[in-house]
């Protein structure tokens, strides 16, 4: 596999690259279809066969000043979801609020826990760690129904607390941060202790800066997980005002039909992918590391 000096070898490599390039093309297709779909106007959306280059780019799928005036206009994405106060903008804000707060809360709590588990010695440490590991083997579906009942009994249904608080204890984050912290030298912490720093202080100003790459990687995964979280919000957020993007998208997807809905869905998908795409471009390496570590798949 290393030396491909022969001309036959080179030919083989190139002919084998063809399927790779074709596969890469298939990877891009849905994104392209999404972007052009989002900017087509209603008559163009109805066209058969569909156009592959947008003829008259328009923002009507997002907001159409003409409102519902068939056949050439329909309400845009931001004019739908009338039962949500503030419409799609509110839905978007909900998703951002949930994802950001879960990310920060869970990073704070997980790093604190990982710090104690990695750097403190105390009775029960191994037991706690083994308990965490064992709980990772149980799929989340097992705890789904009791958690729903807990939320009901706490009166947290239709409240963001139902999502943010349980999600802020992420076992996998503790696991990987602990792994990372184990490699930090103990002398560093001892020196700080001699200087009179408290444990919280050590965690905040020594440990956290040192594990920042790991924090970024794990934070991205947690953010992404919440951004795409469907099942749990579906169960605990019944109030239209609290809808998140995944709920909104699956709602349009299941209740509306026909070619013009395509424009709405593509517009929503486009707006939803933008933050993740930006994060991916900025934090490519961290993303790869995070996903490899967590074993998470899309």
């Amino acid at each position: 596999m290393i030396e491909k000096n022969t001309s036959i070898g080179r030919l083989l490599t190139w002919s084998a690259m063809a399927p790779v390039l074709f596969m890469a093309f298939l990877m891009i297709v849905p994104y392209y279809w999404m972007v052009i779909g989002a900017f087509k106007n209603v008559p163009e959306l109805r066209k058969v066969p569909p156009t592959f280059v947008v003829e008259n780019p328009t923002l009507n799928n997002f907001y159409d000043e003409e409102g519902n005036t068939p056949p050439n206009h329909q309400e845009g994405l931001f004019q739908r979801f009338k039962d949500t106060k503030g419409g799609f903008a509110r839905i978007y804000a909900n998703s951002i609020f949930i994802s950001v707060s879960v990310t920060f809360a869970s990073l704070l709590i997980a790093s604190l826990t990982a710090f104690v588990l990695a750097k403190h010695r105390f009775p029960g440490r191994n037991f706690i760690f083994i308990m965490f590991m064992a709980s990772m083997m149980v799929p989340w579906q097992v705890t789904l129904i009791p958690n729903f009942l807990i939320m009901r009994d706490l009166n947290w249904i239709n409240s963001f607390r139902a999502i943010v608080i349980p999600a802020s204890a992420q076992v996998f984050a503790v696991f990987f941060l602990r792994q990372f912290m184990l490699s930090l030298p103990d002398e560093l912490l001892d020196a700080a202790r001699v200087d009179g720093a408290g444990e919280l202080r050590i965690w905040w100003s020594i440990i956290l800066p040192l594990v920042r790459p790991a924090l970024t990687a794990i934070g991205l995964i947690i953010f992404l997980g919440q951004w795409n979280n469907l099942v749990w919000p579906l169960i605990v957020l019944r109030d239209a005002n609290l809808r998140t993007i995944p709920l909104a998208i699956s709602l349009i997807n299941q209740s509306l039909f026909g070619p013009t809905t395509l424009g709405l869905v593509m517009a929503a998908a486009f707006l939803t992918s933008i933050p993740t795409l930006i994060l991916f471009i900025v934090f490519q390496k961290e993303f790869v590391r995070g996903i490899t570590m967590s074993g998470m798949k899309g």
Partner: protein, 400 residues
Amino acid sequence: MKLTTKLNKVSLSVSHFSVKGSIIAIQIFFQTLWKKRISYLLLSPFLVIFIVFGLLPIAWSARLALTEYRGIKTVPPKWVGTQNFEDILQITIRVLPPEIDEATGEQVYKCGRKKMPESEARVLMAEGEECEARMMTPRDVLPKGYSEYDRYNFRGKTYLVGATDPRFWRAMYNTVRYTIGSVILTTLGGLFLALMLQKQTRTNMVLRVVFFLPAVTSGIAITAVWKWIFAGESYGLANTIFDMVGMGRQDFLADVRWTMPILIWLALWGGMGFPMILFLAGLKNIPLELYEAAAIDGASVPRRFRHITLPLLRPTFLYVVIIGIINAFQVFDVVYVVFSTTQNIGGVLDSALTVVTYLYDQGFNELQLGYASSIAWVLFGVIFVMTVLSLRLGRVNESY
């Protein structure tokens, strides 16, 4: 602090007295707990959330699984023992005998709307009429509580598979098919890509990003885009391409024959990046000297691949496959976004029903919370067994 030092001295002086020893040991134990209070204090936020929303629900779920509970506060869960698990899992195979005409003892045939014995039907069939051999109904054959899951013809006999919950078996069958298809294809696809893109050229780096892109953005949004690509009407992209190639319009989302291929296709599209990255890392760890030595010994490229690359990638394979199985068994989002309709969460004829979608359906549409918990435990059992099996299989002939 004074008390602590005193107790320490006491414990030192009397530690050889076996009678008081145990009491003192307990005292020392609590002392250390107290000394380490800061550790426990810092752990407490995580521990409290973890216990309340992570551990307690596991125990609660185990109890719920043995009850019938409709989710009403005033009606407490009713203890039913293992009834839920029996209802989920019971399955039986029976021979479905032909319906016998009582007078003649021949099999009953149905020609048009009339029923008649076989000999009469043969006469009519010879005249060109269409007749159909009648079988007994599943209800006559299956035990009480069972209904038909599927039937097979084998060596001239009709076998009837009955289950107390045919929908569960439908879901399990779909999930297993999905898991096998998607895990094999994504693993091989990822390996292929890793092999092709292992040289760190600029083109390859760009291609790696392209293949990794879906792992980052393949959430609900892109899944929704796929639904519209596979729209059954002519404005769908898939149908446009099928038309161009001359394969004719397909009703992708309503035709049950397309359900599984589409689900696996989506898994493949979104799932190759993850194994690719892992295989790339695995390939990087293989020392080049091994290949060089093999090349000097005259080993061909395929032989080097077979005897160096594959064995050394074994741990990566194992990891990729296990994570793949765990994820595939829990598939929900894709089904919900692409195939679920407001009437049926499992799509047309339950063709896309998976174990987790069925669990959701039972729990939150039918409000059978006890039953749904039992399904979750069955799912856990299956995932657990599959993981252990993969680990076992992966360890076979560990020659490296």
